[in-house]
Amino acid sequence: MKKQILYATAALLVAILAVTACGGGTTPTAAPPPTTATQPTTAPEATTAPATTAPQATTAPSGSATKLQLLGWSSSDAENNLLNTIVDQFNKSQTQYTASFDPSPNYDQALQTALAGGAPPDVFYVDSLKFPDLMKNNVLATPPANAIQDPDDFYPSLKAAFTANGTFYCPPKDFSTLALIYNKKMLDAAGVKPPTTWDELKAAAEKLTDSSKGVYGLALSADAARWVAFLYQAGGTVLDANGKMNIDTPEAKVALDYYTGLLAAGYAVTPDKVDSGWNGEAFGKEKVAMVVEGNWMVPFLKSDFPNVEYDIAELPAGPKGKATMAFTVCYGVPKNGAHLDGSWQFVNALTNKQGMKEWTDLGLAMPTRKSLRDGWVQKFPNLKVFLDGADYSHPWQFGPGFTVVTDAINKGIQEIAAGQATSESVLKTVQKAGEDVLAQ
């Protein structure tokens, strides 16, 4: 106990130093991912639904029940309320534990300090991109036998994202994929059909662009989480089959030239060019006719831009066929958690067939269990494209420390767009960055 306090103090001190050394004034919250399932963009949360920090009160804890804390992030009140409904059901279903959802605006810092301090939350969100980092530090508990109901029911690619050394560590809570979302009226007016290939996408974007009116075909942010989908469509990869960095390839150059070419030609714009914080806002303001975004767009458009008529199509196929990205989050349980038994019960209640059905039937997120697919598609037929993406998606996950590499990609795309670098030099830099990180 004493040791724990010591660690907690030490971690706190470092955190304080790290923050206070960085100049006076309080620092605000980091922008949390603006969606239910993960959305690894840099979209500032101010432009999407306002983030809430106040967790909704769940049922009053009964006297003797052990408290369980679920640490995560949040994008909207709606999402908090829905998740709290599910949490409440768990609390009513048994008397031993009282769980509460605790969305943190500074999720990364909160989780890291709690883990280092030796007093981790009982359950926490784990983003697929960060999973390798947590595994490298060996902080996740191995689930006991039967803790996860019917693990083979999860989509293989999503299950693989949270599997290491043959162990499936944590069940994915839900997932999102990328698709092409287009403005019906604008496409009809220009006489354009939803594009299905790269060439068609380029032609459509050109036709839809009217820069004199400040309207463009496509919003494309300088964002690795979008470009990597094009990379896979071109037949490229980030890592090869042996886990080695393999991005400096002709296929990657094709993808990078195509992506930045759309921007250079002026058929696509970064959202800031049309006074928007992220692609979705540009689309909602009808400054662009198409965006490459995920199912988080649906609740966003419904609440912020209810009058925009849109439809959803698969991402256009590249030279080597279809591909999209899958972003997912799992419920992780820490190795040194104080109530492991309760944690696993809680996780199972959230992700077993019944729990996941209730959560995903609320319409914010897509089920990660194959057995729920048909029922969900019936309920939300307009979102079928996103769910179908699971079949040809690649997980948003590479190796430990890869935020440095995705940063390098973001930076490279911006530099090319500003005419300050070439695709060859950027791919070389990214390749080198990946090798350095993997060698570390």
Partner: protein
């Protein structure tokens, strides 16, 4: 008898003295010295920030080697951040010092009416939350924002600058006017690699976005510095000016021959504070740009934050912190030398 009495009194005074400073001392110890040495220690370890620190392994000088010697992504990131911070300090410190001095002289005029109003106005940005100011400036700097609209009203030929998303360096842009770009620059500029960046990249100057942040910061901090100058101005004895006017000195002459020399210690203080503050700049990057576009507003302090909390490399973050301390320490020493030399001359 008398000696023991004095000794006893001494001891009592000692105890009283130490107990008076104890609260401050303890706070300093807990919140300053312990974290400082903890950071130094951590910079020699591979602590991720996820597991308890005691479980981390010793890595010796590895982080420093990666940051300073080996050709790898950490060194490139570090020197990119160093370059960004250096240009930032180079632009902000002199400008804010001169501006603060001018504002102080204006607010100190004997004949000025509504003196209180001006002082408050000049000082106001400094006491407003940097986050609030950051968010408001995000609006102003939008490509359809007020700033662009005002410029456009004055000059219809103006093409909107996206202030918050323009990674081009202002020295690069100036060179481009004379036809020197990445494509036309000689090979020795674009090929020579110094510490992970090409000479061409070193020469970029602050990016347009960084310049926008610099303008904002100058506007907010000049008020604080003005207050310091104002206090010092009021300490300059009036007779000096009276004697000077009797001798026929103009007010410009008085300013450069009396005011500025008398303010030398204050200028040193203001420049030192400015240097430290600019090298540690963090808030604006965190709130407004997240270090972008293309990493051109990633300051050293913001890089520390990214390394520690996004990248889960507290050891690396600690090593950068130590280097940042050394940079600030050196900069302050150099600047002290410059000022004291002038004082002798």
């Amino acid at each position: 008898m008398a000696t023991t009495n004095i000794a006893g009194q001494r001891r009592q005074e000692l105890i009283a003295g130490y107990s008076f400073v104890a609260p401050a001392l303890i706070i300093l110890l807990v919140f300053l010295f312990i974290p400082m040495f903890f950071t130094l220690w951590m910079s020699f370890r591979d602590w991720s920030g996820i597991t308890p620190p005691a479980e981390s392994g010793a890595v010796g000088l590895q982080w420093y080697e990666r940051l300073l010697v080996l050709d790898n992504v950490r060194r490139t990131d570090f020197f990119t951040a160093f370059k960004n911070t250096f240009y930032y300090a180079l632009g902000v410190v002199p400008t804010q010092t001169v501006l603060a001095l001018l504002l102080a002289v204006i607010a100190n005029q004997q004949l000025l009416r509504f003196k209180g109003f001006f002082r408050t106005t000049f000082y106001f940005p400094s006491i407003t939350s940097s986050v609030a100011i950051g968010l408001i400036f995000l609006w102003i700097y939008q490509s359809g924002g007020i700033l662009n609209q005002v410029i456009k009203a004055v000059n219809p030929a103006y093409r909107n600058i996206s202030w918050m998303n323009d990674p081009t360096g202002i020295i690069h842009n100036t060179l481009a006017v004379f036809g020197l770009t990445l494509r036309t620059a000689p090979a020795w500029l674009t090929e020579t690699n110094v510490l992970g960046l090409t000479l061409w990249q070193w020469l970029s100057g602050p990016s347009v976005t960084m310049t926008a942040l610099m303008m904002l910061v100058i506007w907010t901090t000049a008020g604080t510095m003005m207050l310091v100058f104002l206090a010092a101005l009021q300490d300059i004895p009036r007779p000096l000016y009276e004697a000077a006017s009797v001798d026929g000195a103009t007010s410009v002459q008085q300013f450069f021959s009396i005011t500025v020399p008398m303010l030398r210690p204050t200028i040193f203080f203001v420049v030192t504070l400015g240097l430290i503050g600019t090298f540690q700049v963090f808030d604006q990057m965190f709130v407004m740009t997240s270090g972008g576009p293309a990493g051109t507003t990633t300051s050293l302090a913001y890089l520390i934050y990214r390394a520690g909390f996004n990248d889960s490399q507290m050891g690396l973050a600690s090593a950068i912190s130590v280097l940042l301390f050394l940079i600030i320490f050196t900069a302050t020493l150099i600047q002290r030398r410059i000022f004291s030399d002038r004082a002798v001359a």
